[in-house]
């Protein structure tokens, strides 16, 4: 520094200052005119959803090559049957988490539905009536959550931790320690049936309908776009005319209803109605939703990303089981993936910020050095 100061002769001072000034100004303009974020195709092809989908494709390709027996229609059938409950509940859960709320009671609603189904069927009601009552129970359970959260204004975490226990308790009251298994064989067979030779379960059709419904609702309707606003700031959302309480209420009705559908599916797929069905499913769902790129703080996420997240976790689970790797490894992998998916964007943002500041240095290689030089060069003589 001091050497440099001595070497740079005073007469060069004024010249350099003017050159530097113009460069400073012009560079500032250039940096400002670089668009923030991506545009066009890059936005779609390099977004968070796309990354999840790439990860899924890469993993499926890898599994097909590396794991014997993976690349068969049988895999498709078993794998999808395994992920259907998670996939179903993840759809409304995505919307709930985007608004910055949470619903932990979904698995308990599924369990309660399962218990109800068993008891009503054992009591001799026709299966159509049983199914309708179960869906209505799911709607009611969701509406109760929604009422406490949206109308009374209690925090969703507290409310749904409460109903998590409450609904599971009700399931125990309804069916006790019993298990009811004598559902009509045609119905249980239908629930595990596949579409021709493709291996795709017939049940994927209603699941696709549910996914489409929530996808369209979130991405293509004013209601859905309002949810993002809600996730960023409830106050702002209220000011721009979003009916916050109503939106939240219906979202919880949505999770309740879909959880009931998942409970029905669970019961008929495993042909066993029990109070402990689907225990712990809420955490699997939330993990998949977060892995799918939804921010736990709300305001960010998409249905395609979540579908990719659910399928990625499902495929990894299935592959590990096919390789007969212990479930201990499985939960460690799932946990690591989740942490990685949450941490990576932060690390990426940090790297981006660091690069940004370095780019400033690079495009103006002399700025800090010459600036300092300049100061001393001009400042020191002045003092003298």
């Amino acid at each position: 520094m001091s050497n440099h100061t001595k070497q740079s002769p005073a007469p060069a001072g004024p010249d350099r200052i003017t050159a530097l000034d113009t460069r400073l100004i012009s560079t500032d303009k250039t940096l400002a005119s670089v668009p923030k974020g991506r545009t066009g195709a890059a936005r779609v092809l390099l977004g968070r959803d796309a990354i999840m989908i790439y990860a899924l494709i890469v993993f499926v390709l890898y599994a097909s090559i590396a794991i014997p027996r993976f690349a068969t229609p049988v895999t498709v059938g078993f794998l999808l049957l395994d992920v259907i409950p998670v996939l179903l509940i993840a759809m409304p859960m995505t919307l709930v988490i985007i608004t910055g709320e949470i619903d932990l009671s979904v698995a308990s609603i599924a369990g309660l539905t399962s218990a109800l189904m068993g008891v009503l069927w054992a009591a001799g009601l026709p299966i159509e009536v049983v199914l309708v009552v179960c869906v209505v129970a799911g709607v009611a359970a969701g509406a109760f959550n929604g009422f406490l959260i949206a109308v009374v204004g209690l925090p969703s975490l507290a409310v749904t931790i409460g109903t998590l226990a409450l609904y599971r308790g009700l399931a125990l009251v309804v069916i006790g320690d019993n298990a009811i298994a004598n559902f009509p064989p045609e119905l249980t067979a239908f629930f595990t049936s596949k579409l021709g030779g493709t291996g795709i379960p017939t049940m994927m059709i209603p699941v696709a309908v549910v996914a489409l419904f929530f996808g369209v609702l979130l991405h293509l309707t004013p209601f859905g776009r309002g949810l993002y606003a809600l996730g960023f700031s409830t106050e702002a959302a209220t000011f721009v005319g979003i009916r916050v309480a109503r939106a939240k209420f219906w979202l919880y009705v949505g999770t309740g209803t879909v959880s009931a559908l998942a409970g029905i599916f669970w019961t008929l797929r495993y042909s066993s109605a029990r109070s402990d069905n689907a225990t712990g499913l809420e955490l699997t769902v939330i993990a998949a939703v977060l892995l799918g790129g939804v921010s736990i703080f709300g305001g960010k996420g998409s249905i395609p990303g979540v579908i990719a997240g659910v399928l990625l976790i499902g495929t990894i689970n299935f592959s590990l089981r096919l390789e007969r790797i212990s479930d201990v490894v499985l939960i460690i992998v799932t946990g690591t993936l989740l942490i990685a998916s949450v941490v990576t964007p932060n690390v990426y943002a940090a790297i981006k910020a660091w690069r940004q500041s370095r780019r400033l240095h690079n495009t103006l290689p002399q700025v800090p050095a010459s600036g300092a030089t300049n100061a001393t060069a001009s400042g020191v003589p002045e003092r003298k």
């Binding site: 796309a50 990354i51 027996r69 049988v74 078993f78 298994a181 066993s272 096919l322 479930d327 990576t344």
Partner: protein, 357 residues
């Protein structure tokens, strides 16, 4: 200026691509790591399995000490019976539906014999049906499935034998007369109540036990502390008590711990169903002279041989079918495909060191 600008945009896109690649690579690495981990543990058996006989055990849940002993016996039996590949897979939680995806994976792997301890008799049904359609033989052990979903069920013991050995042990220890009590698990435990009913009938009907009087039945809920307190209470409430039967491993261990530190040590007899590892100190210090339990390892052992016999066609699961279960000799298939392993083993200070479970 234009140059800088373009450069900047390209740079961002390029960096994005790099990050995509990095994420993909991470996932791939993670997966490879897992896969290579597996191959190191199971290549040996997998390699031999090509076209060979394969057997897979699916316990109720992994990492359960009792299950580990059963599976130890199962692996030994599988090797002796001539299976080329033995696998153990299972869920971490013993929930009703958790075993299904493991059965599916085995179906896909073309496993010849699936040995399963069902968490729910029906939830595993559809998956097992599919496995059988794929040519697998199903052996249920420890906990039965609905009989229509399996070929045979290997049961540890006959409930009545369990009851009789305990009444005999207590009678021997108290000299055939005096007051006794029962310390059970929970008041509505099916297996416990079944045994207790047989004990009461035996005490009432067998003339050898006419001087033995059952004065109390208490429930320790299979909770160590509660069982300990119940044992304490029994001895205070019944000063003339000469013996306690505790047909539960938790109850007998807690009662033994109380007796060993009390004035009743060696004076009040204690027997029941216990785990040798837990009971060893009390047998050695004289608190307990003899207790009983089946050897869980035999369960897995017989299940492996039953699987082999099914594959060979020696048995089909019909009543009256016979097969040889290695060192345990000939076993007969009873009604509903039930195979009973054998009478419970009695443990005393002379033989307890031979068992490790």
């Amino acid at each position: 200026m234009e140059f800088i600008r373009n450069h900047g945009r390209k740079g961002i896109a390029a960096r994005r691509l790099v990050s995509v690649a990095a994420v993909a690579a991470t996932v791939a690495l993670l997966a490879t790591g897992c896969a290579s981990g597996s191959s190191s543990t199971s290549t040996g058996t997998d390699g031999a399995a090509a076209g060979d006989l394969s057997i897979t055990f699916i316990p109720k849940q992994l990492n359960n000490p009792y299950t580990d002993v059963v599976l130890g016996g199962g692996k030994k039996g599988a090797t002796e019976a001539g299976f080329g590949a033995t696998q153990v897979v299972g869920p971490l939680e013993a929930s009703a539906s958790s075993q299904v995806s493991f059965i599916n994976a085995e179906t896909q792997a073309g496993t010849k014999v699936i040995v399963i301890a069902a968490n729910d008799p029906d939830a595993v049904g559809p998956a097992l049906t599919e496995a059988r359609a794929g040519g697998a033989k199903i052996v249920a052990f420890d906990s039965d499935t609905n009989p229509k979903y399996r070929d045979v069920f290997i049961s540890q013991v006959v409930a009545k034998d369990v009851a009789l050995i305990q009444t005999k042990l207590i009678s021997d220890q108290i000299g055939g007369s005096g007051e006794i009590a029962i310390l059970s698990a929970t008041a509505n435990a099916t297996n416990q109540n079944g045994w207790i009913k047989f004990m009461e009938e035996e005490l009432a009907s067998n003339p050898a036990y006419k001087d033995i009087k059952l004065v109390a039945k208490v429930y320790g809920d299979d909770d160590d502390t509660k069982s300990f307190q119940e044992a304490q209470g029994l001895l205070q409430a019944h000063p003339n008590l000469k013996g306690i039967i505790s047909p539960t491993t938790v109850g007998i261990a807690a009662t033994a711990r109380y007796l060993s530190t009390s004035e009743y040590k060696g004076k009040v007899a204690l027997t029941g169903l216990g785990l040798p590892n837990e009971m060893r100190p009390f047998v050695k210090d004289g608190t307990v002279t003899a207790f009983a339990l089946w050897d869980p390892a035999q369960l897995g052992y017989v299940a492996a041989f039953a699987g082999k016999a099914l594959v060979d066609g020696t048995i089909t699961g019909k009543e009256g079918d016979k097969f040889t279960a290695g060192a345990l000799g000939e076993k007969t298939v009873g009604a509903d495909g039930l195979v009973v392993v054998g009478p419970p083993t009695t443990f005393t200070k002379d033989n307890i060191d031979e068992y490790d479970f």
